[in-house]
């Protein structure tokens, strides 16, 4: 598995509360090999048989679908983005506003329930900031030409978001996640 694929797999496994693949062990800090792993796995990661790719992809897909199902159930997210009324020029802002209020409330509830978020940079947007030496380019995206060595001076355009904790629901087996929202039939009396 390439490092890129492994990183993605790890990301989603952590996000959905599953164990990391054994290959991830080689990226653990030195001196603290996890006790449950046999030594040889750490020494010879290449010889470890690769887990079938399809199950990895499946897992990541199921989690994403479950999150969409949650946003749809609580906040009607799919209904909203797929609503042809949003593209219809005759729809009034008041009608959109009324729908958005309810969609926002539901989606916010999901986000607050399962994720805790914080800005990557605490400063106000549009403030003058300094990007320190040794910064992580995946945390801070530089726009324009970086001249010379850090620290770099600039203006904070977007403070970024970082998930501090993700406690997404555990998913039971045997449930078709492709159905994001079931059809609803109200029975006649």
């Amino acid at each position: 598995m390439s490092r890129f694929v492994l990183a993605w797999v790890c990301f989603f496994r952590i996000l959905f509360g599953k164990k990391l693949p054994t290959e991830a062990a080689r990226f653990l800090p030195e001196g603290e090999p996890p006790k449950q792993l046999p030594e040889k796995v750490i020494e010879k990661p290449v010889e470890k048989p690769q887990p079938p790719k399809v199950s990895v992809a499946q897992h990541h897909k199921e989690g994403a679908l479950a999150l969409l199902a949650l946003l749809q159930r609580e906040g009607r997210f799919i209904d909203f983005v797929r609503d042809p009324g949003m593209l219809d020029a005759s729809t009034t802002d008041a009608d959109i506003g009324a729908a958005v209020r309810a969609v926002h409330r539901g989606c916010l509830k999901v986000i607050e329930q399962y994720l805790s978020l914080e800005p990557v940079m605490p400063q106000d947007e549009e403030a003058k900031v300094s990007v320190p030496k040794g910064f992580d380019p995946s945390e801070i995206r530089l726009i324009g030409e970086a001249k010379g060595e850090a620290p770099f001076k600039g203006t904070l355009r977007h403070k970024g978001w970082r998930v501090v904790e993700a406690k997404l629901p555990t998913l039971a087996e045997g449930v078709d996640r492709m159905v994001i929202a079931p059809a609803e039939v109200e029975l006649s009396a």
Partner: protein
């Protein structure tokens, strides 16, 4: 080392907290089904049980980490999906547990009303008793705990289950039965208002001794989702130390925050229908949710002028389909604050509507929605005005409701009444129960109280029968008020007998305001303040020593168990046998 588990078995929400000798009480999140095939933790377990058919909810959607596919669900998903399947949803099981108009061990839930009862056979579907439903909630809490703490199984810990202070001996007994059904062989009961007070003590540490002084009386005002419960706790001086005693307990009032949300939803719903729109069952449910939030905002600290309510259309098309209305600050003030918490005199009493001749069986909801009138009557009955108030229950989060009660207490008492800041209003009872476990092992101060009421059994006087008149009934005090756990009283001298081979049945009464009746006191059964409970009974079988029809002279013994239940025993005067009187839970006229 044994852990302490405090369980708040609530009418609409249950919670669990834990502590050890060295670890302060803290709440434990409850793993539960939160959506179809979704399992997550929540701070509380909604006390709802859904019993769907396979067409309604596939069992795979209800499985838990410790189970296979299930045919039932408790908690968040049960409540949410149950709104669409009301005929499969059990709610307020705890209120049914103390409702004498039904047999609480019979499978009558989900309750379908008298008419639907006839169609029971046709409708099918699983039904449970109020005891079974309570047991399912407890069993879920136990399983969730065991799954997360396999080394400390819940049934091996010191388990406390809270009950309303107003629960009668039968409801307490049934709570213990439910706990046993859930696999908790040994539990101890604790009154909820006391638990809330323990949570205050735990939160304050030693600082409470500066806040309260001998002579102070604390009102615990607990307004939950479905019930309202009052207790008075007095601070006394015991050899230089502060001692606490629970001196009064109110009636069981079926009135709470859910009634307020429904009242606001009715107002908003009328505005919507007046505008020519209609709501279906799910939209109605969404409306109640939004009204609850509107209530908290409009009666909060800094209320907005109005709160917008918008309910989305049911189809996949959202834009243009939303139904809009708003609730104003004035509406919240006049319908909730003045409707449920009106300004009344200290001598106000709740209005009692006479029960209609043909009342459908159901929960005995309070007739008067004014919580302040129930409060005035409670305080008037015991003749004590509090110096402090401790709020509990989710409803009391609204700052203006707290302020109204404090304002009235001050007016009634003619002096200042302080507010004790307690723990989290939703979790205080579970936290307090976990703290009480520490207190029982000698760490911290214990609230004394014993039984909240005095108990009596009915004895028919031996007057000759007069046609048309029932023989007058006397009430014999068998257990005086304030009997502590683990203590026993014997009745001095009486002439009671059990007939062998026949069901002996005694009427059973309680009084909350007769502190001075000793065991053996004989009063008229129609004395004011005496409330009739379910009867107690015992069948003494004929055996080698006794033949059917014999009269066995017995004396009575009352015993308050360590668990917190009341037992009445008949002891044969000849020393050959003793029998426990059983509470009759059959339905009563």
């Amino acid at each position: 080392m044994t852990r302490i588990l405090g369980i708040d078995l609530g009418t609409t929400n249950s919670a669990i907290a834990t502590s050890t000798e060295s670890e302060a009480a803290h709440a434990v999140q409850v793993t539960q089904v939160t959506g179809p095939g979704e399992i997550a933790e929540r701070p509380t377990l909604p006390s709802f049980l859904l019993l769907p058919s396979e067409h309604e909810v596939p069992p795979a959607h209800l499985q838990l980490p410790w189970s296979g596919p299930l045919r039932y669900a408790v908690g968040t998903f049960a409540r949410e999906r149950g709104a669409e399947l009301p005929h499969r949803l059990v709610s307020s099981a705890k209120s049914w547990l103390c409702n004498p108009s039904i047999d609480r061990t019979a499978q009558v839930l989900p309750f379908r009303g008298a008419q639907r009862e006839l169609e029971k056979e046709m409708e099918g579907g699983e039904r449970v008793s109020p005891v079974n439903a309570s047991a399912r909630y407890l069993a879920h809490l136990r399983a969730a705990w065991d799954d997360a703490n396999p080394d400390e199984p819940a049934d091996e810990q010191d388990v406390l289950v809270t009950v309303p202070a107003s629960f009668d001996p039968v409801a307490r007994e049934l709570t213990v039965v439910a706990a046993r059904e859930a696999g908790f062989d040994k539990v101890t009961l604790l009154e909820e208002p006391q638990a809330a007070f323990y949570a205050y003590l735990a939160a304050k540490g030693d600082a409470w001794r500066k806040e309260l002084a001998p002579g102070d009386v604390v009102l615990v005002c607990d307004v939950g989702g479905g019930t309202t419960d009052f207790s008075l706790i007095e601070v006394a001086n015991a050899e230089g130390n502060l001692a606490l005693e629970r001196i009064a307990v109110g009636d069981h009032i079926l009135l709470g925050g859910d009634n307020m949300d429904l009242a606001l939803a009715a107002i908003a719903g009328k505005q919507i229908t007046d505008a020519g729109k209609t709501l279906d069952a799910m939209q109605q449910r969404a409306l109640i949710h939004q009204c609850r939030r509107a209530k908290e905002q409009l009666l909060g600290d800094k209320p907005p002028k109005s709160v917008a309510i918008s309910i989305l259309g049911r189809g996949s098309k959202l834009v243009g389909g939303a139904i809009k209305t708003e609730l104003t600050r004035e509406q919240a003030t006049s319908f909730i604050l003045d409707g449920f918490f009106p300004v009344v005199d200290a001598n106000a009493t709740p209005q009692k509507r006479r029960a209609a001749g043909l009342r459908e069986m159901g929960l005995p909801y309070a007739h008067d929605p004014a919580i302040t009138r129930h409060l005035a009557e409670f305080l008037g009955r015991f003749g004590r005005m509090p110096t402090h108030v401790l709020f509990n229950g989710g409803v009391m989060k609204a700052a203006q409701l707290q302020a109204r009660i404090v304002e009235l207490l001050r007016a009634w008492a003619g002096r200042d009444v302080g507010v004790l800041a307690g723990a989290d209003l939703d979790l205080a009872v579970a936290l307090g129960a976990a703290h009480y476990g520490q207190v029982r092992s000698g760490k911290g101060v214990r609230i004394r109280g014993g039984t909240a009421r005095a108990y009596y059994i009915g004895i028919e006087s031996s007057m000759p029968a007069i046609p048309g008149f029932a023989p007058p009934v006397k009430a014999l005090c068998v257990a005086p008020q304030g009997l502590e756990e683990g203590s026993t009283v014997e009745l001095p001298d009486d002439e009671l007998g059990l007939v062998v081979g026949e069901l002996s049945n005694f009427r059973f009464f309680a009084a909350a305001t007769r502190k001075d009746d000793p065991a053996g006191a004989l009063i008229d059964a129609d004395t004011q303040g005496l409330v009739e409970l379910d009867p107690v009974e015992k069948l003494v079988e004929a055996d080698g020593q006794r033949t059917a029809g014999d009269l066995v002279p017995v004396k009575l013994e009352a015993h308050v168990t360590e668990v917190g239940t009341l037992e009445l025993w008949c002891v044969a005067r000849d020393g050959n046998g003793r029998w426990k009187l059983e509470y009759s839970v059959r339905e009563r006229e």
